[in-house]
Amino acid sequence: MKTAPSIEVVFSEGPLGLEDAVRAPGAGAIVAFEGVIRPTEEGREIAAIEYEAYRPMAENQLESLARAAADRFGLAAVFVRHSVGVVPVGECSFRLVVASAHRAPALEAMAWFIDTMKRDVPIWKRPVFKDEQERGQ
């Protein structure tokens, strides 16, 4: 009998910290992606990105997406972490870890998940520009 995939979706306030390594029974490949705040946006220096989520829907959509990815690519596990609130430059705001028996489906699943998330999951980001922040002080 096929084992049900492990699915986990968690939102956290502010930057995401480091986590212990993920292990999934039967997996021979574990691929992790971290989204980190870049220092510029539209050519301007930023201090941070502020994330806003329509929480109940974003959680449902991410969980559905994780299950769809597990079905489509035969994954053993999908773990999703996303920040809400302010995340400074250089910090991690999004982490996706997928596990599968072999590396090819795990790598394909990564790109598919992130592209779909950017279209369908109600999370918005607003850059906190350095010059605006300094003018406000």
Binding site: Y54, N60, S93, K118, W124
Partner: protein, 81 residues
């Protein structure tokens, strides 16, 4: 009927409010709700071509009929990650 529609991100920024109250005939379709918002709220109209209406935390087809008490939100132009 009067519907309350929640606004987030660029929608809240454009309108300067977190929700809208929209008067409509009973049980309007999702298309009618979106068209009505686009025509009554000029600040939002430039965003409406890429906007979907979430009903009770889900995307539904344009022909779906909205009921009293449904939770509504404008969703589109997202970009998490």
């Amino acid at each position: 009927m009067t519907l309350t529609v929640r606004l987030f991100g660029p929608y809240a920024d454009a309108q300067g409010e977190r929700e809208l109250s929209v008067d409509l005939p009973p049980e309007p379709t999702v298309s009618l709700v979106l068209d009505t918002i686009g025509s009554r709220y000029p600040a939002l109209s430039p965003l409406m071509s890429s906007t979907r209406l979430a009903v009770n935390n889900q995307f539904v087809p344009p022909s779906h009929e909205v009921r009293e008490g449904d939770e509504l939100a404008l969703v589109g132009m997202v970009g998490g990650g």
